[in-house]
Symmetry: C2
Amino acid sequence: MVVSIELSDADVDRLFHALADATRRDIVRRSVDGDLSVSRLAEDYPMSFAAVQKHVAVLERVGLVTKVRRGRELLVRSEPETLRRARLALDQLAEVWEGRVQRMAALLDDDSTPEHQTRTKREG
Amino acid sequence: MVVSIELSDADVDRLFHALADATRRDIVRRSVDGDLSVSRLAEDYPMSFAAVQKHVAVLERVGLVTKVRRGRELLVRSEPETLRRARLALDQLAEVWEGRVQRMAALLDDDSTPEHQTRTKREG
DNA sequence: ATAACCTACAACCAAATGGTTGTATCAATT
DNA sequence: AATTGATACAACCATTTGGTTGTAGGTTAT
């Protein structure tokens, strides 16, 4: 079972930054099966091998991909769990609107009984 | 009804970049009710008014917030629809893993009948 | 052993980012 | 009309980013 620790602000910063580049997102997509080496990946982008290497390093630092040695090459594999955390961060941002709906309901409905709204509680 | 047009790579770049800053994410959170002006928002960050103004501009450019004039101030309101699009972009990235599951199933099960896999289609 | 291939990493550069201060505009108040 | 408050925007600066080339270290194959 994955514990899914809470991400710090800095973590979320880095995670979204890693995702804010089309080349990096493409690398994540192509690395799902974990059977492509860095040089193989690099073949399909209009930039140097070293540039692609840097992109992979950015993804690796935030845990969006991992590298596994096979012979003289490193196979890149993307990690769905980290992407799931990015989604979680987005969801937590979106939660504020749910809270707003809650508050609006409370204004309209006096029986909104805020003492047992366990559904809206954040799990710490 | 919101049409939810497809985002270009550059759009997703800008969207995730806008979200890759803790101050900007906080502004989005605080602007849910749309009752805070730029200067009111700026009061709570350890930086100049102009810096916060720039952050709001970044959010505005990608549609994460809009500004509405009220007297001499501009009220900032965050736009849930744009955040929903960010989530959609994440989901489309995550789809590749579903595709992988699909392909693995096809290897194990000869009757995977790829000609009528309507279940895997995303609703727009 | 030597050659060929894959990766790592440093040095360098241009452009973008995130901050600053200063000045101008515009609306509201007096 | 003059003042005050809120915003806009330009100029500037330091740091980061995304690219480059070059060099060096392992691993495989000949």
